[in-house]
Amino acid sequence: MDIKTITALAFLMPATAAMAVDSPISGVVEPKCSIWTETAGVYGHPLPYKLTTKPADGGVKASIRVDIAQADYYKTKFTHPNSFSSSPTLTDAVSWTGSTVVGAVGVSGMSAYEAAKVTYNNVTEFNMTLAGSTWFTVESEASYGSTKSLPAGNYTALIVAECIAK
């Protein structure tokens, strides 16, 4: 074997050692519901007896996004507060109002969710028939006694957002 052949072989050896190896990236697409808490919501205090999330009264409405990976596998339920989870001692009754509406939609057909929603007590249910993102806006208002001043302190109320497989 001459020197040229040996040199050629020496160059070929590392080249063959660097063979490509498949490195697959795998993923699974399955029915899935994600609840995104985009805006937690803040109560404004426009009157001594009232706490409200209305922007005109200094509040911020809660915004919750629901992502549905596969159409027609889930329904969503939103429960707006009907009590404080923590507050100073209150000696009189608090009257609660609230609502949940479809805020924005990722797919135009989702606009129909608003007309088809079911509301009972402080719960609003939506049938998620399409895949994609839907933004829901939750509003809440609390009035203390018959126009009594709310005692000073921290008030906390909970919104419950649920995704339930059908």
């Binding site: 399955e30 029915p31 899935k32 519901c33 994600s34 609840i35 995104w36 808490t37 985009e38 805006t39 937690a40 919501g41 803040v42 109560y43 404004g44 999330t53 922007p55 005109a56 009264d57 200094g58 911020v60 809660a62 915004s63 919750i64 996004r65 992502d67 596998y73 889930y74 507060p81 989870s85 923590s86 809440s140 921290n154 008030y155 906390t156 109320a157 909970l158 919104i159 419950v160 957002a161 649920e162 995704c163 339930i164 497989a165 059908k166």
Partner: protein, 133 residues
């Protein structure tokens, strides 16, 4: 003026998105290593940086609670699972054979800490439906 300041501050601080996910949507109950007990494997993904603890729950079709056990090794409770931000956790739910006919939903619910400054809070709950129910 104050309303505008609150709104402007909230636009900056309140609009960070956080998510709660659980799969599969339709878990299958399989015989476990314990006689008379079936189990389902679930995966929880926590993208809520304001939440570290989730409550595991099992319900009937009309959301009546059903006794169960889980593979959670949390020090708080066997029904509370601790999941860090942007982490996922796989856990098993064990249901007695005598309760299998009634069990329909397996749910996880976010648990918020009592010591928080936020005035309005959002609890998220995701429920999967046991296959063939």
């Amino acid at each position: 003026m104050y309303s505008k300041v609150i709104l402007a501050l909230c636009f900056v601080f309140c609009t960070t998105a956080h998510a709660h996910e659980m799969t599969p949507a339709y878990p299958q109950l399989k015989s476990s290593y314990i006689e008379g007990v079936s189990s389902a494997k679930m995966k929880l993904f926590n993208r809520r940086n304001d939440v570290s603890y989730y409550l595991i729950e099992v319900f009937t079709s009309d959301f009546k609670p059903i006794p169960f056990a889980s593979s959670s090794i949390s020090t708080v409770s066997s029904k509370i699972i601790m999941v860090g931000y942007n982490k996922s956790k796989i856990f098993d739910v064990y249901i007695r054979s005598s309760d299998i006919d009634r069990a329909v939903y397996i749910c996880t619910q976010s648990k918020l800490l009592k010591q928080t400054d936020q005035i309005s809070l959002i609890t998220s709950r995701v429920c999967s439906k046991i296959k063939d129910k």
